[in-house]
Amino acid sequence: MYVVAGPDGERAELDLVTLIVARVADPPPSASPEQAALLRLCAAPLSVAELSAYLHLPFSAMGVLLTELLTAELVQARAPIVRQSRTDRSLLEAVMNGLQRL
């Protein structure tokens, strides 16, 4: 996982399923073409994996791009749920209920 610094200097890990949301309606004029493309894609929350797929950029390249945008406070990152020694049972129950409706 890539460690990226958030706006308040807090560090967040960038996972394939970290959800990214744009904090601005339109990319600022200073945004690079890559940054602008990413900002347009994540008007609604989108995982880093999906961003990598739509942008045709390797996952490893997403770290650099997203660090810039997080530092500039242009996107927000929503941390993933990762495996722990004891996964939260209510989370698993929610997933089971969700799967049941498939």
Partner: protein, 206 residues
């Protein structure tokens, strides 16, 4: 890629957009040998058309030199397909169908470390592949269930025979499935969740 035309990069279709309330996502990995049905399983349960994330690996990491004439380093592109299931307005589940070659699994940082669990797809015509796959999951402490894809020309065994052949401990769920069918793939995921739930109750594994 050329970003000059960035206005035209196609994103998710309107109906494929997650709601703004989507707060966090979890992931599951589907593993198994070549052609065992990983992509099929991702596609059968995903709410979006499966997407592909790529990673590159330089020649040094591949360990095979099939590029004699060239002095420059070549990079191999490895693709991994994935799908998505919205669980609630807040929670999203992603399914990653890993590349058949296990040495490529670790190109994606955090793929296995963070996954809630794994589905091991097994083809009874090539059981030996499964040992390697399961060994790697055990090494990393990734809990898994085993799903036997019933290919028409594959030998059929009773589930308990397969458990013995695969050297699975009694606690690990094993079941038959047809990865092409959504209901069957969904049942496999459900079995994985129940298994994870039972582990969370006992805390017997990390």
């Amino acid at each position: 890629m050329d970003f000059k035309g960035s206005d035209t990069i196609p994103g998710p279709r309107a109906e494929d957009q997650l709601p703004h309330t989507a707060q966090s996502a979890a992931k599951i990995v589907i593993v198994g040998g070549f052609g065992v049905g990983k992509t099929t399983m991702v596609g059968s349960v995903s709410e979006i058309t499966p997407l592909t994330t790529e990673e590159t690996m330089t020649q040094a990491g591949i360990g095979v030199d099939d590029n004699f004439g060239s002095a420059s380093k070549t990079a191999t592109t490895v693709a991994m397909d994935f799908g998505r299931i919205s669980i609630t307005e807040q929670l999203v589940l992603y399914l990653f169908g890993t590349p058949g070659q296990q040495r490529f699994w670790f190109l994606w940082n955090g793929l296995f470390e963070g996954a809630l669990g794994a589905v091991v797809l097994v083809d009874t015509r090539r059981l030996e592949v499964s040992f390697d796959v399961m060994g790697r999951l055990e090494e990393r402490g990734v809990p898994f269930v085993v799903a036997v894809n019933a290919f028409p020309d594959a030998p059929r065994y009773a589930i308990e025979e397969l458990r013995t052949a695969l050297d699975l401990t009694p606690d690990i769920p094993i079941m038959e499935c047809d990865a092409r069918r959504r209901a069957s793939s969904r049942d496999v995921l459900m079995t994985l969740m129940r298994f994870l739930h039972s582990l969370a109750m006992t805390g017997s594994r990390t």
